[in-house]
């Protein structure tokens, strides 16, 4: 419990005095406390000495809508609440973005099998960027080491622990493939997971009920569940967050690769593509005829994993 340890919020003296000064305010604070009590119940933790403000925020958070149904105002409000809560609870100055997808953008990814040497810098960068749980060693990306003559990660070794590159081996990275016809989305009973207009398949962590039906439905093992309370050492937390991306998750919810939505919507590369020392990872806008990804799709022989399932992933493999 390093990060999530409950700390008492900085209660301002004026606040306390203020709420006690008049009868009306007193009643108001009473109702907030009542709300806070139930909020403590619904947020499922031992609430202990959380401040009234924290309880009120949690209460409002509990009753908020699915992200897709929120108005812009409601989105901004929840973002403000989340930032405030992070400050109160963990003394963190996070910035949560609710940046919308950009027009005329459809993200795609291509992976060069002949270049990848299995260094796993991408994995490390992803863990850092996306605030992945260090306790369970969650990874969105996995690299499989394959023998010549195979082109299927299911027959490879996804747990190698030795120095790379190894002669006569090659490497294939997998992650969520952001399927256009995604079985995970179809399966979700609460519409807590969907495909954004720019092609990113996201999860609304606050809306997910943790039934894991999407996980059973994904043919690529693209999803990760928070079995316990995820933990990230405070000094390693990436403060630049997105509501649908790398903001800190809670126990009991589903998460997955978001093509680093907090970076890519600002025109940056995903952390994995940025970190790759061999240049095996190509990311870009499929609708832009001059993008590198379009070049790859046009000039290389590409293939996709488990094409026969008709999921139409936005993730291709190619060779030099």
């Amino acid at each position: 419990m390093t990060v999530r340890e409950k700390k008492e919020g900085p209660m301002k003296t004026e606040d306390i005095l203020d709420t006690k000064s008049t009868r009306r305010d007193f009643m108001k604070s009473l109702s907030i406390t009542a709300a806070a009590g139930s909020a403590g119940l619904v947020t499922g933790g031992c609430v202990g000495k959380g401040s009234t403000e924290e309880m009120g925020l949690k209460w409002e958070e509990y009753f908020k809508k699915n992200y897709r149904l929120m108005t812009q105002q409601e989105k901004d409000d929840t973002v403000t609440r989340l930032e405030r809560l992070a400050k109160i609870q963990h003394d963190l100055d996070i910035q949560v973005s609710d940046q919308e997808p950009r027009e005329q953008v459809l993200f795609g990814y291509a992976f060069n099998i002949s270049r990848c040497k299995g260094y796993m810098d991408c994995v490390e960068a992803c863990v850092q960027e996306n605030n992945l749980d260090r306790n369970s060693k969650t990874q969105y990306i996995r690299i499989f080491e394959l023998n010549p003559g195979q082109l299927d990660p299911t027959s490879g070794d996804g747990k190698y622990h030795h120095e790379v590159p190894v002669e006569d081996k090659f490497y294939m990275g997998v992650q969520c493939f952001h399927c256009e016809n995604a079985p995970c989305i179809k399966a979700c009973p609460t519409k807590a997971t969907w495909r954004e207009p720019d092609g990113i398949v996201v999860v609304d962590y606050d809306w997910c009920i943790g039934c894991r039906y999407c996980m059973a439905a994904c043919p690529y093992w693209g999803r990760r569940f928070n079995w316990g309370q995820p933990e990230v050492p405070k000094e390693e937390i990436n403060l630049k967050q997105h509501y649908l991306g790398n903001r800190l998750r809670m126990k009991g919810v589903m998460e997955k690769c978001t093509f680093c939505i907090q970076r890519t919507r600002q025109g940056k590369l995903p952390a994995c593509a940025d970190a790759c020392p061999t240049g095996s990872r190509v990311f870009g806008n499929l609708l832009d005829p001059n993008s590198e990804i379009r070049f790859v799709l046009k000039n290389k022989k590409v293939f996709r994993f488990k094409e026969e399932l008709g999921t139409d992933p936005k993730f291709w493999y190619f060779m030099d």
């Binding site: 299911t154 043919p219 928070n226 316990g228 309370q229 126990k251």
Partner: protein, 410 residues
């Protein structure tokens, strides 16, 4: 006491509560045992609630375990009430009509267990309201899970309301009015098949999991349910026969036995068909079956279970099929228990876990339920037994009273 001095709903409820709870020492011990199991389950659940599902043995690879296995099995038990409802109400079978209420009671208990297992399995149980149409977002008709919620809750309502109405009438010494409940009976027959088919579709509809993505799954669910469900009902009837002065006609047992034999044989035929397909022409998609029956890459935790299940299945079927004409209750009990536990293992563990192994990335891990998981499961099972007991005892009491009344009047 030929007429019932009490009338009205409050008297009905309080009398039912009295009938449900009063009993001899044996009954008190039974209740105490159920309560302690329920208490242990509640305690374990409070732990799971605090720490999250990490308290279970599940993982990102085997992401459903004991809870969903039991859920799947008990949907079948619930559906099986139709095997009594259909002959009793539609074919007007007098013998089965006498025990149909027990079938319905078992169905209600089983459904309550199903809903509890689903809740226990959820990562965010306090967010269930996200699934309620109107205030939440209900992904219907796309998600089969939403279909399953509709059919389960609908079936629960049907199986609670129809018997409640009939008992309420009988309590007031009048026969139920046909047109008031018959339509619901018809509906519940159709509904019983649908709860089990939809639950099968939950798995069948996932191309990601070749082990489940098999059109035989739905029909097999039904066949095994119609064997295991009546076996449970038979156990309850034996318990009633042994422990109360309520007479259970032997004809009822023979009829149930016939239903069980037919369904169990159909179930076994389909099982062999499946085994043939998986192993005659072994493909990549048969790895799950290999894991289940023989083990894979040195992982073989399910192997002893599935062979036990198959042996029990065959043993139970044979015992029922070749029952001597003069069987003792003990004989039937052994037969029912072996068939029931065989199907329980096969359709619970044996169906759910291999769906996840090997993972879509080809990884093989074993799943072992944690003690928290086992305690919660036991707690839910005890709750189910408690519910069934609490429903059936007043039902029998009312039944008896009504019969007495009919005798004095008629």
């Amino acid at each position: 006491m030929t007429t019932n001095p009490h009338t009205g709903f409050i008297a009905f409820v309080s009398d039912c509560a009295r009938w449900a709870l009063s009993g001899g020492t044996g009954f008190k011990i039974y209740l105490a045992a159920l309560f302690s199991l329920m208490g242990a389950g509640a305690f374990a659940y409070s732990q799971q609630f605090q720490t999250g599902l990490i308290a279970t043995g599940m993982s990102n690879i085997v992401s459903w375990g004991l809870y969903i296995s039991n859920f799947t099995f008990f949907v079948g038990v619930a559906a099986a009430a139709v095997m009594l409802i259909l002959p009793a109400y539609i074919l007007k079978d007098k013998d089965l009509h006498k025990v149909v209420i027990i079938g319905e009671g078992v169905a209600v208990g089983a459904l309550i267990m199903c809903l509890m297992f689903i809740t226990a399995d959820m990562g965010g149980p306090l967010k269930v309201w996200h699934m309620i149409p109107g205030i939440g977002l209900f992904n219907w008709p796309s998600s089969i899970l939403t279909w399953d919620m509709i059919v389960l809750n609908g079936y629960l309502a049907l199986n609670a309301i129809v018997p409640l109405y009939i008992l309420y009438c009988n309590y007031h010494n009048r026969p139920p009015v046909d047109w008031k409940y018959r339509p619901f009976v018809f509906l519940s027959i159709f509904w019983a098949v649908s709860i089990h088919m939809v639950t099968a579709f939950l798995y069948e509809g996932l191309p990601a999991r070749p082990f489940w993505n098999n059109p035989l799954l739905g029909p097999r669910f039904l066949a095994s349910a119609f064997a295991a469900g009546p076996a449970v009902i038979m156990l309850v009837l034996i318990a009633i026969k042994q422990n109360t002065d309520h007479v259970v006609d032997t004809k009822i047992f023979s009829k149930l036995q016939r239903i069980i034999v037919v369904s169990a044989v159909i179930n076994l035929v389909m099982l062999f068909s499946e085994v043939f397909k998986e192993f005659y022409a072994f493909t990549h998609h048969s790895l799950s079956a290999q894991y289940l029956f023989f083990g894979l890459d040195g992982h073989s935790s399910l192997v002893p279970w599935i062979w036990t299940a198959i042996s029990l299945n065959i043993l139970g079927t044979l015992l029922f099929a070749f029952a001597p004409s003069k069987w003792s209750p003990r004989y039937l009990m052994v037969a029912a228990i072996s068939l029931f536990s065989g199907i329980w293992i096969e359709k619970g563990f044996g169906l759910i876990i291999p769906g996840f192994v090997p993972s879509p990335m080809g990884e093989v891990v074993d799943y072992v339920p944690s003690s928290v998981e086992i305690l919660i499961t036991l707690g839910v099972l005890a709750t189910g037994a408690f519910v069934v007991t609490m429903l059936i005892r007043p039902a029998l009491a009312i039944d008896k009273q009504y019969k007495k009344y009919q005798e004095t009047v008629g």
